[in-house]
C-alpha cells in the first residue's frame, strides 16, 4: 500500500545501467571509426602510435584502475556504516581523477609542443593515416577526459550528499550509481589504452 512511498532501489540502478548503455554506444561510434581507419591505415597507425608515450598511458591506466578500487571500497565502507572512511575513499577517487587529468594535460602539452596536433604543419607533412590517428586520438581521449571531469564532479556531489546525510548506509543507491558511472569511465580507458598506446 505505502509501497509507492518506498524508493525502488533496483529500478534506480537499472535506470543507471540503461544510461551507461547510451555512453557505451556514444563511444562505440568513435570505436567504429577507429577500427575502420585502423584497417585502412595499419602502417600509419603503428608509426603514429609510436609517438605516444607508453609511460603516460600506463600510468593513467593504473591511476584509473586504482580510482575504481577506491570508489568500490567507498560503497562497502558506507554500507558498513564507516561514513568517514567512505568519504576519504571518495576523496581519493577524485584525487585520482585530477591526477589523470593532470597527466593528460602534460601528455597533450608535450604532443602539441612537438607539433603533433590537428591541422599542424608537422602532422600534414606526415602520412595521411597519421593525421587520422591523431585526429581520433585527440577526439577520443578528449571526450574521455571530459567524462573523467564529469565523473569527478558527480562524485564530489555525492560526497556532499553523504555529508548532509542524504546518502547513508540504508539508502546508498545514489553512491552506487555514481560508482557505476565512474567504472564506465575506467572501462572506456581500458580499451583506449591498448588501442592508442600498444599499437604494434
Amino acid at each position: 500500500m505505502s509501497a509507492h512511498e518506498h524508493k525502488d532501489y533496483v529500478g534506480a540502478k537499472f535506470g543507471m545501467w540503461l544510461f551507461l548503455f547510451t555512453e557505451l554506444l556514444l563511444f562505440g561510434g568513435l570505436f567504429i571509426l577507429y577500427s575502420v581507419y585502423l584497417s585502412r591505415y595499419p602502417a600509419d597507425f603503428v608509426t603514429a602510435g609510436a609517438e605516444l608515450d607508453l609511460r603516460f598511458g600506463a600510468a593513467n591506466t593504473l591511476v584509473l584502475l586504482t580510482s575504481s578500487l577506491f570508489v568500490a571500497l567507498s560503497i562497502t565502507a558506507l554500507r558498513l556504516g564507516k561514513t568517514k572512511q567512505s568519504l576519504w575513499l571518495l576523496a581519493a577517487t577524485v584525487a585520482s581523477a585530477l591526477l589523470f587529468l593532470l597527466n593528460k594535460f602534460f601528455e597533450w602539452s608535450a604532443k602539441i609542443h612537438h607539433g603533433l596536433y590537428p591541422g599542424s604543419p608537422e602532422l600534414q607533412a606526415r602520412e595521411i593515416g597519421e593525421t587520422v590517428f591523431f585526429n581520433l586520438y585527440y577526439l577520443m581521449t578528449g571526450l574521455h577526459g571530459l567524462h573523467v571531469l564529469i565523473g569527478a564532479v558527480v562524485i564530489v556531489w555525492v560526497m556532499v550528499f553523504i555529508r548532509q546525510g542524504k546518502v547513508h548506509r540504508d539508502d546508498w543507491v545514489i553512491l552506487e550509481n555514481a560508482g557505476l558511472y565512474w567504472h564506465l569511465v575506467d572501462l572506456i580507458w581500458i580499451f583506449l589504452f591498448p588501442l592508442y598506446y600498444l599499437v604494434l
Binding site: K7, Y9, S39, T66, L69, L73, D171, F191, P194, L200
Partner: protein
Amino acid sequence: MSSESSHIVPYRTFILIWIALLILTGATVAVAQVDLGALNIWVALTIASCKSALVVFIFMHMKYEQRLFKLALLSALIILAVFIGFTFIDVLYR
C-alpha cells in the same frame, strides 16, 4: 526495502580484483613488446575484455544483479558488435 538483501562485497575481494587488473595491465604491456603481427590487436583486445569483465562483474556488482541486468548488457554489446561488424561488410570489401 529490498535493499537489505543486497550483498555487501568485502574489501578483500575488491583488492584482489584490483591486483588482478594490475597484473593483466602488465601482461598486455609485455605482450605488446612482442611482434605478433595482426594478432597483437586481438590479444590486446582480449586482455582488455578480461579486465572489463572483472570491472563489470565485481566492481560494478553485475555478478550479484538480477538476470535482467545481464541480459540488458548483453543486448547492448550485441547491438554494438552488429554496428561494427556490418560496417566492416562495407569497408573490407570496397
